[in-house]
């Protein structure tokens, strides 16, 4: 039996993959390099390409090819690839091209303006652009909802974490809300008896950059297939063959940039280790945003805050920043595990981080569902920050709803993935420890290969071969179980 239709589908996907390569690099450049006056032309160029890719993903022949391929004699891998092609087709065909182009333009404009509005704390300027972004996101949610039968917010979330529903998020976040406040209280109480020396600034940007490069090397990043640059909001972009990570530097503190870089390195290695022989086809893609975040959190939290990690980091820190009492191993470990409620999600420790995510989830869901408007965000933000972390954020938009790029870039339904990722990561490391009982000693000795090999074979190389629940079960031996996250936090912070 021939595979004509399947082969034709593969050729079309490879073509889209190649064209989207240019979109990815130009998007990275827009954040990392582009001067101000280039933005209008870049936004128009990216929108044109977004429209073209959408057009290619919705060509009339595709439906027939997908139906024909389903009747062909495919092996298991080809069948999984076809399943992902079908999923991509459903997602693309839910949206009219005019909406795709309008979204690209509005998101790009909002995000670009945000780069100067955030430092100026200019909420009213920002909200003018955000209103249009939200309007289009609601329209998108309606379109996706009509096709999938899901509720509007669930339909958006399903793009990033296929199969996840807000009912399930409610259950998991409900579980968290039960024990998290008490755990934060206990940890703060325990840590209040510890003495922690703050590193004494300044830390020159060039030295931090060199330190970041060494840390990426320690974490196995392949610099022949990627770069580290700077942007207002750190991200991991580019393409699997050429991963473009970004960070930002503050002269008064080096840890946020360093640990942010280690975080993005987790994303970067996932991309760098997707199977080369599948690249260009949907089956090669990273499985989901939650899984992606599980890899960055494996690097930043499971490894980065591991009691043995300070000993690995110390020589690099001393090499680039010189020595000082704060860099003593015990103190470095206390710095890396310090819990302190704060304004900024990306700077948050792993104990308070879930609170930031719950807050965003509780705002973006009613925002998409039309129960609130963009003007209502600040008051809700202030109330929830007070309630969850006891912080006063009134009037501080820069460190409040303007701190993240997501909403301005039209990403709604994405935030829950961060905390799902933290749970996956804890579950994966629990599985590793069952298989390799001396894992913690190995990590402390700088032998990170056991961790990387496990992640490579169980997660990175699997791409989108399995749907998320199956991938998690195959990798860790059981379905998603939030108990591992709680056990991890208790052992590390109260053990």
């Amino acid at each position: 039996m021939s595979k004509t239709a399947y082969s034709a589908l593969c050729a079309r996907h490879v073509r889209m993959y190649r064209l989207s390569h240019l979109h990815s690099i130009a998007s990275w450049d827009q954040s990392a390099n582009m001067p101000a006056k280039g933005n209008e032309a870049r936004s128009l160029a990216l929108a044109e390409m977004g429209g073209l890719l959408h057009q290619l993903a919705t060509e009339a022949e595709l439906k027939g090819l997908l139906d024909a391929a389903a009747q062909e004699d495919l092996d298991d891998v080809e069948r999984a690839n076809l399943r992902e092609m079908q999923r991509a087709w459903r997602a693309s065909n839910a949206l009219p091209q005019s909406l795709v182009e309008a979204k690209s333009l509005a998101n790009s404009r909002c995000e670009h303006a945000w780069r100067s509005q955030r430092p100026a704390n200019d909420w009213s300027g920002y909200v003018e652009n955000l209103r249009e972004v939200v309007r289009l996101a609601r329209e998108e949610a309606r379109c996706l909802s009509a096709v999938t039968g899901l509720a509007p917010y669930d339909a958006l979330m399903d793009q990033y974490e296929p199969g996840m529903r807000s009912a399930e998020v409610d259950r998991v976040f409900g579980d968290l809300r039960q024990w998290l406040p008490g755990l934060i209280r206990d940890v703060l109480e325990k840590q209040s008896r510890e003495t922690v020396l703050r590193p004494v600034p300044p830390f020159a940007q060039a030295a931090q950059k060199a330190l970041g490069h060494d840390a990426m090397q320690l974490m196995g990043f392949d610099f022949e297939a990627g770069r580290l640059d700077e942007s207002a909001h750190p991200f991991c972009g580019g393409v699997p063959e050429d991963v473009r990570m970004t960070t930002r530097y503050r002269e008064d503190d080096f840890l946020p940039s360093l640990m942010g870089t280690i975080h993005e390195t987790g994303h970067g290695r996932y991309e760098q280790n997707l199977r080369r022989d599948w690249l260009g086809l949907p089956i090669a893609n990273a499985r989901s945003m939650g899984l992606h975040e599980s890899q960055s959190l494996s690097f930043e939290m499971q490894l980065g805050s591991h009691p043995g990690f300070a000993g690995l980091l110390r020589p690099l820190v001393v090499r680039h920043l010189g020595d000082q009492p704060a860099f003593e191993v015990g103190n470095l470990n206390r710095l890396l595990t310090r819990v302190k409620p704060g304004y900024i999600r990306v700077d948050a420790d792993e104990v308070t981080y879930p609170a930031h995510v719950i807050l965003r989830y509780e705002i973006e869901r009613p925002l998409i569902e039309g129960q609130i408007e963009v003007e209502d965000i600040p008051a809700l933000w202030d109330a929830k920050m007070q309630e969850l972390l006891g912080l006063d954020t009134r009037g501080n938009f820069s460190d409040g709803p303007m701190q993240d790029v997501h909403w301005g870039a039209g990403l709604f339904g994405y935030f829950p993935c961060y905390t799902l990722g933290a749970m996956y990561a804890a579950q994966f490391f629990a599985a590793m420890r069952r298989e390799t009982p001396d894992l913690d000693a190995r990590i402390a000795a700088g032998d990170l290969a056991s961790v990387f090999d496990w992640l490579r074979s169980r997660i990175w190389n699997e791409g989108s071969r399995w749907e998320t629940p199956e991938l998690v079960r195959r990798a860790s031996g059981e379905a998603l179980n939030p108990a591992h996250f709680q056990a991890h936090l208790r052992a590390r912070y109260l053990g």
Copy 2:
């Protein structure tokens, strides 16, 4: 009378303009940023886009639209735009899409390998890739020749300098060959009596970079619409709204990078000053490669080697590199006008530069016409370098035929433009002096506005409004006249 067809053509050109924006930025990135392992995927992505742009430029409907638009009631500007659309259509339709894609892939591969082969003096490795590039360039020349009725080499050259023929190049270069060797001899004789202090290295890269930025500012570059980065071979890329210039640094000498940067700034300002209200349409484009080079040489040679320019440069040099005896104004001027036969075209002074171009022209023309093969290049190169500049280049491929990116990138018929550009520039400055008799005093006083305003109104803002001979006549009051170039060299170097 409606302009339906003309409007439809404009919309199609704007779409191509936006998509080619992504190609330009990704190409720049390939030279300035990309790590080694990214090359295969990037080459495939650029080839895919090259093929797509070619497909859009050759769509069946275009011929009918072009014919219909010719019957519509267009004003003079629209008619000039239509003329350029027709020219673009003829050029695009001469080549089958498979050839366009093969060329893109072969050129990209050859150029990438060249980046490591050149430092290794690896001619035999380079020639393996170059052979395929030449094979495809000959095929291209045959296709273009069939459409235009021009000889194969003329057909290639016509893409870069429309209307220029090798008979005319023979005439101009024949004129040069008459007086250039004697002039070089006289200048070397005169300069042998001068004392010139060499700047004492080292010159830190960061200081040179800052100096280059200041020089670009002096020359009016808009940093909100462009950048300066590094690449193996300096070039000016990007898009008019976001010009991406590159340079390279040597710690033992700062002048090659500085003057190269000033050169590229001339290209950059031409692009930055193309008419905004025409952008996206062919009429907005820079007129030709020879005209483009006339702008870079106006900056690098007409201004950069002007007797008053050393006084403008000195404060910048001293600010970034500290002072030393070599930076005294008179000595700096002698350095900037020093004539010395050398291996490297891009480092050549303006007196010996034409010899480098004649040499390349005399090799690439028979190469395209099939009278010689790539294996014959080194022997011809060695013989002509000896004959024209008295230099022995045997075995030194890095500083010989591997010094330029052009041939590896498939650019044949381009080299003559450099010397045509030098002649245009000399003619333009002669015209400026007739209109502004105190021009030289203004330049010496740092008042460069007269020069920039003249170039902006006569050249930059005109885009492709006129064909080259008409643009030159309108700008300077007469047709191309090589006597201005000779007079310029005699006045500056023997005056």
